[in-house]
């Protein structure tokens, strides 16, 4: 099973829940953990992976052979990202805007362009207890986080019973890249107007991708009942609710997962794990209660 933990709003507790849920599932199964929040990766602070090996992630960008280029401007005309300009017969490249589509190299009438690789980030793999762990890091100043997320998922270990993916916040391309292809997506929210507003957007994404969706309400004791009403209206199952806890906040601040720091929370995560597994095995119709 591929399980994504996502949310529209940031800071709702995705990493806290993904980490402890993975630890609970790993009691009886083989689990791989992918931290796909490559702009702000934090799961390693809790899982403390060992033996990390790192690989660079690069993309293909064009380079101009000035001997062959006659400054015709075809490349600049066809670049959809304004990554190329031709000024006074000279090609100017803005590689940070390039998406690596390869169009300029393919279509240059003088074959004056070649592609070279440019490093945009790294992926690190290791193990955390019995779990396999990997995360990625987008170099600061780079923009194409979906590329690193794609790389993380493409080479995800397939022999595990469960792959838990900690997704980035939001509902645009990085989040879509992280959750697409998953069997189940848990959306973490909080019972506030912000939480609800961003949950609605995230549900639109998971539904359009045809992913079974469940909701976890974090800090459930702080807010009102509108988010619950919304879930009821939409037929979205609420799989767990966690209250605010100062003790938990303190444990988390020092990198201690809820699973280890608060013994009382273990059975809640075990129950959540069972709910998720049950959801995966159900057919889609019965999931939408």
């Amino acid at each position: 099973m591929k399980l994504a933990v996502a949310s529209g709003k940031g800071g709702t507790g995705k990493t806290m829940i993904a980490v402890s849920l993975a630890l609970s599932l790993a009691q009886k199964r083989s689990v791989a953990f992918i931290d796909a929040d490559v702009e702000a990766p934090n799961a390693h602070l809790f899982l403390k992976p060992q033996g990390l090996g790192s690989e660079r992630v690069s993309m293909r960008v064009p380079e101009v052979d000035s001997q062959l280029c006659n400054g015709c401007g075809t490349c600049a005309d066809l670049c959809a990202y304004n990554a190329l300009a031709v000024i006074k017969g000279q090609v100017l490249l803005f590689t940070e805007l390039c998406h690596g589509c390869g169009g300029c190299t393919l279509l240059c009438p003088h074959s004056a362009m070649v592609e070279v690789s440019r490093v945009i980030g790294v992926i690190e793999r290791g193990s955390a207890g019995t779990m396999e762990f990997c995360h990625g890091r987008l170099n600061v100043g780079e923009v194409l986080s979906p590329l690193i997320i794609n790389e993380l998922k493409t080479h995800a270990p397939s022999r595990h019973a469960v792959v838990v993916i900690d997704a980035p916040p939001g509902t645009s391309c990085p989040m879509v890249e992280a959750v697409s292809g998953c069997d189940v997506c848990l959306l973490v929210t909080e019972p506030t107007p912000f939480g609800q507003h961003d949950l609605e957007a995230a549900v639109e994404v998971t539904r359009s991708l045809g992913i079974k969706t469940g909701v976890v309400v974090n800090r459930c004791d702080q807010g009102d009942d509108r988010v619950y009403q919304y879930c009821r209206r939409e037929g979205l199952p609420i799989l767990a609710q966690f209250p605010f806890s100062r003790r938990l906040a303190q444990a988390l601040s020092g990198g201690i997962p809820a699973w280890e720091g608060l013994k009382g929370w273990r059975h809640a995560f075990t129950a959540l794990g069972e709910q998720v597994l049950k959801m995966e095995s159900e057919d889609t119709a019965s999931c939408n209660y």
């Binding site: 529209g8 709003k9 940031g10 800071g11 709702t12 990493t15 929040d37 702009e39 702000a40 934090n42 602070l45 066809l78 959809a80 990202y81 998406h99 690596g100 589509c101 390869g102 169009g103 393919l106 279509l107 987008l138 600061v140 100043g141 780079e142 923009v143 194409l144 986080s145 980035p168 916040p169 939001g170 509902t171 645009s172 391309c173 990085p174 989040m175 879509v176 697409s180 019972p191 506030t192 107007p193 912000f194 507003h197 961003d198 957007a201 995230a202 639109e204 994404v205 359009s208 991708l209 702080q222 807010g223 009102d224 100062r246 906040a249 303190q250 988390l252 601040s253 020092g254 990198g255």
Partner: protein, 288 residues
């Protein structure tokens, strides 16, 4: 006119609550909600929409199936596996248009893709520019740029003193679009390892983009230990720290009620925000 971006690296540190509070505290301000895929600032400011515009993110291919010979050339050149025998996967498609250039039948045309809307609204505290990106849509950086630029124009034409920008989390494309042309940013963090880790990355970005950061620690009393660590670390990095806001459920209650946090109580949290704004106003007026 002074631009202040509020960013964080880590999500959920309280950017939007601070942005709404500063809108209310600043004498003449224009607001810009640059977190376009989780746009929440408008939820606290009761905006009345005055302008609505479609956002065209780019172009997407449309295939004329009557012309298509299923030759597969488009599929060969597409690097996103987004087109296959005349069918386009709009979520995977990056809109590069290479398929339309190589199609021997000229069966593929590129058409404007509307992937959201942006608004100029009136609020009690000044105009607000905000947007809605269609969930799942790409190119949020471009929409962020539209929002920020429109807010700057409005501030110039209305002689506003401040543009308060509520930024997105992370440090990728939409954050860079938020910070373009901005000189000062308030970086909101929280006292934890995660907060410190993400703060480090977003400060690197500020440095690269020559944006002057001011750091504030929200919910500082949830870990006085990490608050001390972050303060010492910032000091060592020569980064100015301006304020500490305590964990305060009354700030939270006002957000739940849809109100600007700083206006509804004189709780410790609200007082800390007022003091933080005073310091920012002072610094930014002096340091430009």
């Amino acid at each position: 006119m002074q631009l202040l971006a509020i960013i964080s690296g880590k999500g959920g540190t309280g950017k939007t609550s601070l942005a709404a509070s500063f809108m209310a505290l600043a004498p003449l301000a224009v607001g810009a909600d640059c977190d376009v895929d989780a746009a929440n600032l408008s939820l606290l400011l009761s905006p009345r929409e005055e302008e609505v515009e479609d956002f065209v993110a780019g172009k997407k291919p449309a295939v004329d199936l009557a012309r298509c010979q299923r030759c597969g050339r488009c599929q060969e050149v597409c690097r996103w596996q987004a087109i296959k025998t005349g069918e386009v996967n709009l979520i995977r498609c990056e809109g590069c248009g290479v398929c339309s250039h190589v199609c021997p039948q000229e069966a593929i045309s590129m058409q404007d893709e509307i992937s959201g809307q942006w608004f100029v609204s009136a609020t009690e505290y000044g105009p607000l520019v905000h947007a809605r990106l269609r969930p799942g849509a790409g190119n949020s950086g471009k929409l962020v740029t539209v929002v920020r630029k429109r807010a700057q124009e409005l501030a110039l034409s209305s002689a506003s003193q401040w543009v308060i920008i509520d930024g997105p989390p992370g440090n990728g494309c939409p954050v860079m679009a938020t910070l373009s042309g901005v000189k000062a940013a308030l970086v909101v963090t929280e006292p934890s390892q995660s907060g410190l880790h993400d703060l480090g990355r977003v400060l690197d970005l500020c440095h690269q983009l020559q944006v002057r950061p001011y750091v504030c620690i929200n919910r500082h009393d949830l870990s006085s230990h990490f608050t001390e660590i972050i303060l010492a670390w910032c000091h060592q990095q020569d980064v100015t720290t301006l304020g500490k806001i305590p964990y305060d459920t009354r700030l939270f209650d006002s957000v739940v009620a849809g109100n600007v946090p700083v206006l509804t109580s004189d709780s410790p949290g609200a007082l800390a925000i007022i003091e933080l704004w005073g310091q920012l106003e002072d610094r930014l007026t002096k340091e430009g």
